[in-house]
């Protein structure tokens, strides 16, 4: 990325996708076409910047308003819109290599995991839960599933018989945040001078065994440690029918603590306080394809679930994991703003139509208020409109024609090769084709019209985009375009 301006745009894009996980491509294409069109129409940059700022404010008002035709409320009572959102996220990432059935399955898994992570019946301040993702390579995607609670690797030497002996839950749990390896080198990078006759490692091991004794006395059934547990201590605990989980890792400490209510103990030399113990409702084995995992079920309705993703090879698995995390992030954003925008290019076409129509009649007054000429204003509006439509056009990869209908302002794809009488729908799936629906090609000038607002529609759109992500992308794109257009001089330091 040698070109400095492109680097600037790509940095902004990366920051946006980190925050919102979606609409990065929309932002990139929109920024670049805005800059291109400004040059193409020969607009003065200061004029263009003023007009774009005015137009993006209008877009914000329209999109946040009540009578916005491209906004769909996300209802949490039915999961159709959530699944549609997740589905759109996954289909936009072809590197996962999923067929349509697998895509549908993964979308519903993501929605399920998301719904699990919303706490219910919690008193006091509700704390959002988490979904832990585990990947299993070498298996078919169909074996992926979501489990409530936490799934861990089965500890060595733990047999189904041991779990049966434990009986039914709930089981008492203790969690250690420090290393129980009995290793003196944990103290730090210092030289130790040891007096004769002292054996520090033996003393430490004695202390560890004391902890073991206390834990057994307090009738603990599950002993978990973030780091390594000394083998002698492990053996002692197993003899007393305590399940030992070591090497839990920092990442799982928080979900474990949430599920069990245990507080991590950090001290080796004092008694484990009673408040530090937690409870787990159940322990059982789960089969995921050919791999066995240990499941911990929460007694506290903790909003933790584990998503097990399977795929044929490592690369596709990594891609799938990342896509699922992003999709879940997008679903979480709907909690703050419970809307989604129509996908498939329909939002872009509607927005473009609406903005052009709104500014047609008020052009003279707006232009005067901004201190520019009427024709310059109209050209800038046209540049904005064609940039929005360019994004919609770029969605079509197979060289088919893109059309816009002159009533509702949705995007349609003309399938010339199709011979059958299939019911044709628009880009987002909301509208069905009718014979009297007049259409025209996307990149031609057409009569401006106000898109008709669809009320009380029974059909649900099939393709949805994230509202927060797209809104932010729109705003950031216009800002980046303004910044780039503002640059009048580039000085390179060649050293």
């Amino acid at each position: 990325m040698s070109e400095p301006l492109l680097k600037l745009i790509s940095t902004a894009l990366q920051h946006h996708t980190t925050r919102y996980s979606d609409s990065g491509l929309f932002m990139g294409i929109f920024t670049l076409t805005l800059i291109e069109n400004t040059k193409k129409y020969g607009l003065r940059t200061s004029t263009a910047i003023k007009v774009y700022k005015h137009l993006v404010e209008q877009c914000n008002v329209y999109l946040k308003g009540d009578s916005c035709g491209c906004k769909v409320p996300v209802e949490f009572s039915s999961c159709d819109s959530l699944v549609a959102l997740a589905h759109s996220m996954i289909t936009s990432k072809p590197a996962c290599m999923l067929d349509s059935r697998e895509t549908q399955q993964i979308s519903s898994l993501i929605t399920q995991a998301f719904l699990y992570s919303i706490p219910c019946n919690s008193s006091g301040t509700a704390c959002f839960g988490r979904t832990v993702t585990i990947g299993i390579e070498g298996q078919s995607v169909n074996h992926s599933s979501v489990f409530p609670g936490l799934l861990l690797d089965v500890p060595e030497m733990l047999l189904p018989g041991d779990l049966e002996r434990l009986g039914d839950g709930p089981f008492k749990v203790v969690l250690f945040g420090v290393s129980l390896s009995g290793d003196i080198s944990e103290v730090g990078d210092v030289a130790l001078e040891v007096h004769r006759g002292l054996n520090p490692e033996r003393d430490l091991l004695q202390q560890l065994l004391k902890i073991g004794e206390q834990v057994v006395k307090d009738k603990v059934s599950l002993f978990a440690c973030q780091k390594v547990v000394h083998p002698v201590l492990q053996h002692y605990l197993r003899e007393h029918e305590v399940v030992v989980i070591e090497r839990l890792g920092l990442a799982l400490m928080e979900p474990f603590a949430k599920i069990t209510g245990a507080r991590a103990v950090a001290s080796l030399f004092s008694l484990v306080p009673m408040e530090a113990y937690g409870l787990v409702a159940g322990l059982c084995f789960q089969d995921c394809g050919s791999k066995k995992l240990l499941q911990l079920l929460s007694s506290k309705h903790a909003a933790i679930s584990t998503m097990v993703l399977c795929h044929r090879n490592e690369t596709m698995l990594e891609e799938l994991k990342m896509t699922c995390q992003r999709a879940e992030h997008v679903l979480r954003l709907t909690l703050r703003e419970p809307y989604a925008l129509l996908g498939g290019g329909c939002t872009e076409t509607q927005l473009a139509t609406h903005i052009t129509h709104m500014n047609q009649s008020t052009a003279p007054t707006t232009a005067a208020a901004l201190g520019i000429s009427h024709s310059e204003f109209l050209m800038a509006v046209e540049s904005f409109r064609s940039s929005l439509l360019a994004v919609a056009l770029s969605l079509e990869h197979d060289g088919q024609d893109c059309l816009i209908d002159l009533t509702y302002g949705h995007r349609w794809v003309m399938d010339i090769s199709s011979q059958t009488e299939v019911k044709h729908t628009c880009g987002c799936g909301l509208l069905e084709d009718r014979s009297n629906l007049e259409k025209t090609h996307l990149n031609t000038a057409c009569q401006t019209f106000s898109p008709v607002f669809l009320e009380n529609n029974d059909t649900q759109p099939k393709v949805l985009d994230s509202f927060s992500a797209k809104l932010n992308a729109l705003n950031v794109a216009v800002e980046m375009a303004s910044l780039v257009l503002d640059v009048k001089y580039i000085i390179k330091d060649v050293n």
Binding site: H195, V487, K492, D493
Partner: protein, 402 residues
């Protein structure tokens, strides 16, 4: 080392200033744009701030460096007008050069130039002040003809607005102007203008937070102090809250080259010492611990058990600010106790932060920008606007005895 002798002529002066003028010229005025600097490392800087642009250029010619020094000195005393300085200087030198024709000479001779320089100095010392006071100031005085509180506000708004418009693009200028004025007014309350601006100006590093990835429009002013770290241990607390400020770790700090004499029970003894220290804190009824370093695991455990909120790795500048502003009861160095109004968790563009309510009027300015380069520019301009307003306000206050 070879020393090059160069004959300094008017021609040389004009040609040295030429490139500086052409760079700065494009940034001036409402139609002006920005300059983008790039390095091979990929670092970019975007600015239309005269002093910043000129300082970033690698100037080799000693005359150019001298001019840059003058620009910086001017900026330090007035906070503004660097581009105008360069343009006026260039124009003056060119006019002098061109006026050789009027004297029917090919060029100025050195003695003639020296004579001219002396006469210009005399003009500026004796007559320029009078010209400005009698011919220019009357146009400004219509804004300053009466002293009222409302006047103070509008002067500051104009100062900030003028400063910002000259240094950022039109798109951001509106937003930044509005947010900086809001920041000033919220921080003010009972203090007078000079005290407020001076306070903000000297503590700007601590009183602002950066967030990348959001449009500039998401910038806001938040009450209290914002720390860009998430709480390590969090509990709901209601104010007033006693907070302990720590500059070192509770655990035994072991440096390099220390030989620890390992006696019996050494480990348990170090643990019990830490426990004693922590128990003492509980006696003092401390609810919050603010630490500039990472604390050991046992401190986190203690905090969780005793419902104490803990914030680690806080910038020590912010801790110093908290201590100074609160007139703390000093326990013993390096520990201080400060009183806080409240403690909250905050989400800034996806980043989890801590918000501390303090018993003073300080607010935090949260500046957002889509990219880090633009964020630097925004922060720089905001800081500069406070400097510029301070300088501008001081001269206004002196002149009109406010």
């Amino acid at each position: 080392m070879q020393q090059q002798l160069e004959c300094v002529s008017l021609q040389v002066c004009v040609s040295v200033l030429g490139p500086l003028e052409s760079v700065v010229r494009r940034c001036l005025g409402p139609e002006g744009g920005s300059v983008l600097f790039t390095r091979d490392t990929g670092e970019t800087l975007i600015s239309r701030h005269g002093q910043r642009v000129l300082s970033t250029l690698h100037l080799e010619h000693p005359m150019a460096r001298m001019v840059l020094d003058c620009v910086c000195a001017h900026a330090k005393s007035t906070g503004d007008g660097t581009k105008s300085f360069i343009l006026l200087l260039s124009a003056l030198l060119r006019a002098i050069q061109d006026s050789a024709h009027m004297r029917r000479k090919a060029s100025w001779s050195n003695p003639a130039l020296q004579n001219l320089a002396n006469r210009l100095m005399a003009l500026s010392r004796n007559e320029l002040d009078d010209i400005i006071i009698h011919q220019v100031t009357p146009y400004a005085s219509s804004y300053c003809s009466h002293h009222s509180d409302k006047l103070e506000h509008s002067i500051l708004d104009y100062l900030i607005s003028g400063y910002i418009s000259g240094r950022t693009g039109a798109g951001q200028a509106e937003i930044l102007k509005h947010i900086l004025c809001e920041f000033y007014y919220k921080s003010k309350r009972d203090q007078n203008t000079t005290e407020t601006i001076s306070f903000i100006h000297s503590h700007f590093n601590v009183l602002h937070t950066r967030v990348a990835g959001l449009p500039v429009g998401c910038s806001e002013v938040i009450e209290g102090l914002v720390v860009t770290r998430d709480w390590s241990v969090w509990t709901e607390l209601r104010g007033p809250i006693k907070a302990l400020v720590l500059y070192e770790s509770f655990g035994s700090s072991l440096g390099d080259n220390i030989t620890v004499c390992f006696q019996q029970d050494w480990l348990s003894r170090t643990e019990s010492i830490t426990k004693q220290k922590l128990a003492y804190l509980l006696e003092l009824q401390v609810n919050v611990v603010l630490s500039s370093v990472k604390q050991p695991e046992c401190v986190l455990q203690w905090a969780r058990m005793n419902h104490v909120a803990l914030l680690e790795c806080v910038d020590s500048d912010q801790l110093d600010f908290l201590c100074n502003i609160n007139f703390p009861e000093t326990l013993s160095h390096p520990q201080h106790i400060v009183m806080l109004k409240y403690c909250k968790r905050l989400q800034l563009g996806g980043l989890r932060c801590a918000q501390l309510g303090i018993y003073s009027n300080a607010h935090t300015l949260v500046l957002c920008a889509p990219a880090p380069g633009l964020l630097d520019q925004t922060v720089c301009v905001s800081r500069g606007s406070m400097e510029g307003s301070y300088a501008g306000w001081r001269s206004f206050a002196c002149r009109w005895c406010v």
